[in-house]
């Protein structure tokens, strides 16, 4: 638990955003209630207001083992622990009795003034947690792996790394395996999986009516914020949406808006021209179907794009229609057993195809092209989330391909998508047109997927979002023909969107938690 502290806040935040985004789609206005489970995690870094806030100096914090056993010289940080230890030597020992009145709960703040956890409102709940946090984020990385020269500030992190160093492989979406992290990183930057095809994007730029689907972050799954992310400081003015690169959810005026209200309120983080985020999983093999964009409210969609090896639940019978495309709402939970996704599958989903009109063909779509506003979503600033960790995580997932990917739950069967109808899916294979996943963007098939993947640059403002991207992409590398177990609900059909949404939120949250843990270990 303590190890997770660093990331917990991130996790929480993403969760929130995920939920927020969920609530907005369709006619739903109410955000799904947070799950209790998530709540618990959310508490990390959001301490009980009544707790006593302890601010230790760095020296005190790092001072280890002030209480030393005279027999074996083992040191302890707390007298109680020493007393318990002395018991083992058959020495006299004495534990302080608790006073009759219950001790106030203590929370600890990080001594580093610039750190988010320096603020008492973000204090962490236990001493070990704050210590590790302080070491990791503000301490010297003095533990170095001889093999790969990766450095760690916390010895236990380093030890954990030693056990696995060199044992895993990094896999790119294009199928190439790497045993070395640096070559993997370089490859990622140059691989077509991360690239936008310029030829395609350019024509798109000129397309007056860009329809883009904003894929949201899977980041939900990797980092889900518990609390509504504070609006990022407006740093830039939104650039006019470039159609080609930005995948926005297009909203048609008469259709329910998908974008959440939050979006509008958010300042635009990114002023850079929209670039396709999709980068991660890309056009390389042409088989990659997954896409993830940074965290945006519309995370729901993002999940749709992620291909996973999970169960294919697409219903063939659903016919892609310009306006209504059948989605199946299956939010298949993430395969992580630990994640709580009880209601992932909507009953209705498997029974009958629900048509969710996600597709956008020229204005008809539910989603209008989200201009600048959509892009605004920048993930909340987050304490440095380790890019490496995410890269590695992603790689790990890639390596273990079939089962374990975070995305698993939300697969998109790219191969099946009809190119013309579903721009987004088109990249995958474009073969059979049987299943319409409405997510597609209006333009011509093949490029569509890539477009999706590209996402808006703004989407990635924050590190974690972008990283997630990468992670997703990698996970996506898995298969072309993965089941699409996306969560699709029909908007018009008034199906239980909420449910789907909420389940998604959970799924996302779960993923975030998982990631967080994993990172914590590292």
């Amino acid at each position: 638990m303590t190890t997770d502290l660093d990331n917990s806040s991130a996790v929480n935040e993403s969760t929130v955003s995920g939920e927020a985004s969920i609530s907005s789609p369709g006619n739903q206005t109410a955000a799904p209630p947070e799950k209790p489970v998530k709540r618990k995690r959310n508490l990390a870094g959001m301490p009980d207001p009544d707790a006593e806030v302890i601010a230790l100096s760095p020296t005190t914090l790092m001072a280890t083992n002030r209480f030393v056993c005279e027999i074996c010289n083992k040191g302890f940080q707390r007298d109680q622990n020493l007393q318990l230890h002395r018991r083992g030597h058959n020495l006299p020992w004495k534990l302080k009795q608790r006073t009759s009145k219950e001790i106030r709960k203590r929370v600890y703040v990080c001594p580093e003034p610039s750190c988010v956890h320096h603020d008492p409102s973000r204090a962490l709940g236990d001493l070990t947690g704050i210590k590790k946090h302080f070491c990791r984020k503000h301490g010297e990385k003095k533990w170095k792996c001889d093999q790969c020269s990766k450095k760690y500030a916390v010895q236990s992190d380093w030890k954990a790394h030693l056990k696995i160093c060199g044992t895993r492989e990094y896999k790119c979406d294009c199928g190439t395996l790497f045993s070395r992290r640096d070559s993997f990183i370089t490859h990622r930057a140059f691989c077509d999986a991360l690239a936008v095809e310029t030829a395609k994007s350019q024509p798109e730029d000129e397309d007056p009516k860009p329809q883009s689907v904003e894929s949201t972050p899977q980041s939900t799954s990797t980092a889900s914020p518990p609390t509504p992310p504070p609006p990022p400081p407006p740093t830039a003015t939104p650039t006019p949406p470039v159609t080609s690169s930005v995948l926005c959810i297009a909203k048609s005026p008469d259709l329910p808006e998908i974008s959440t209200s939050n979006q509008d309120s958010r300042p635009v983080l990114d002023n850079s021209p929209p670039i396709v985020v999709a980068a991660v999983s890309g056009s390389c093999s042409g088989s990659c179907t997954s896409t993830n964009t940074g965290s945006t409210n519309s995370s729901v969609f993002a999940s749709l794009f992620a291909s996973s090896t999970a169960s294919k639940i697409l219903h063939p019978q659903t016919q892609p229609q310009p306006q209504t495309i059948g989605f199946k709402d299956l939010i298949r939970s993430m395969n992580q057993s630990t994640t709580q996704t009880p209601d992932l599958t909507l009953p209705s989903s498997s029974q009958e195809p629900i048509s969710l009109c996600l597709s956008t063909n020229q204005g008809s779509s539910i989603f209008r092209t989200a201009g600048p506003e959509l892009r605004q979503y920048a993930p909340p600033p987050q304490p440095t989330m380790s890019a490496t960790a995410l890269l590695q995580k992603a790689a790990q997932m890639g390596a273990s391909a079939s089962g374990a990917s975070l995305l698993r739950g939300y697969g998109l069967d790219g191969g099946r998508l009809d190119d013309s109808d579903v721009g987004g899916g088109g990249g995958g294979g474009g073969g059979g047109a049987t299943i319409g996943l409405g997510l597609g963007v209006g333009y011509d098939g093949r490029s569509g997927l890539e477009e999706l993947m590209m996402g808006t640059p703004s989407v990635y403002g924050p590190k974690h979002a972008t990283l997630d991207f990468l992670g997703l992409g990698m996970a996506a590398g898995g298969g072309t023909t993965n089941g699409l177990s996306a969560l699709m609900t029909s908007i018009g059909g008034s199906l239980d969107v909420t449910r789907a949404v909420s389940s998604f939120g959970r799924g996302g949250g779960g993923g975030g938690e998982f990631t967080g843990k994993d990172m914590g270990k590292q």
Binding site: C148, D182, R188, A189, F190, L194, I275, P462, K463, A465
Partner: protein, 419 residues
Amino acid sequence: MERTHISPYTNHQTTSKEQSIHTYTDSGGGETCPDEDKWASRLLRQCAQAISEKDSAKINHLLWMLNELSSPYGDCDQKLAYYFLQALFCKATESGQRCYKTLVSVADKSHCFDSARKLILKFQEVSPWTTFGHVASNGAILEAFDGETKLHIIDISNTLCTQWPTLLEALATRSDETPSLKLTVVVTASLVSSVMKEITQRMEKFARLMGVPFEIKVINGSNIPLGDLTKEELGVKEDEAVAVNCIGALKRVEVEERGDVIRLFSSLKPRVVTIVEEEADFTSSRSDFMKCFEDCLRYYTLYFEMLEDSFTPTSNERLMLERECSRSIIRVLSCDDKQNIGSGDCERREKGNQWCERLKEVFSIVGFSDDVVDDVKALLRRYRTGWSLVNDQTNPNTDSGIYLAWKDESVVWASAWKP
């Protein structure tokens, strides 16, 4: 083609037979008798000698023989013989300039982003030849930029930005606030400039992915002397922490202009200047053909052997790298420097200690920290055996950068400098 220009030697058949037999014996026993030169080196050396002595009969004879024995698809000796023969023939016939231009335009025609990317990534995968300099330079740059928030790297290298993804990743995981990075890439090789558009797009995308605020600008420096660039053209701002990164860039500058370029670097007030060059000296011996030939042969023999050990025999990437060498060899051995002023592709390499002399006039050397050295060592462990990290053997007491050694021969030199 060579033979058509050369009058057949009267007894060439006999000679060639003897030579062939001798050759086979040699190449067969080459590994067991390391003292004995490889046949290619011996013949090439004789041929070069004949050229410098203007002994046309001997030249013809040796060229003819080399032509019989060499092949671009054979073993190391045959390849060396093939590419050096080409250069020697050009030297003998004074057709180096024409031949070089032809080879460059051929390379240009087949050059595209995909092939360039594949080539460089594959090379980096199998050999630390370029990654050595990248890791050392990145380590020095990151340390020099510690705590800075506005970073500007002037990158004068022709390695297609393959150095930067790992640096971006390192910046993204820096424990303090993620800095912004401006990358100004000065392209000095015309071949590279054609693919820079693709590269910049990828870098931008990757930087976004990493969450590093990023700006990249490409300056085509292939038709202007590097030393003529100005601070303004390079976009250097006062509040930026600047690093200058030169990988194999100084050798492309005309020998006479090298001082100017180094002074330009100094005028940018960089936090650090990283210089990586291959360890060969084709400069001090410019006017001594034989001496220059010797070092050229030594260097490329090492390089070809390295390629042979690193790649599979049929690797297309290897062939491309060898062809790149063939252009350089012709450039060094058979082209007149004066005809190529300003072409941006000077091949007058210098060794680490020679560069040190030049750089010391303006800069002082910064030793690589233990961490960086460890990183480099960790890098080398991931490649096949044969690679090592050595310090300058000639001046053990003074810091003069680090060397990548291939089978105990220094091949690449890396160093970091500050004003």
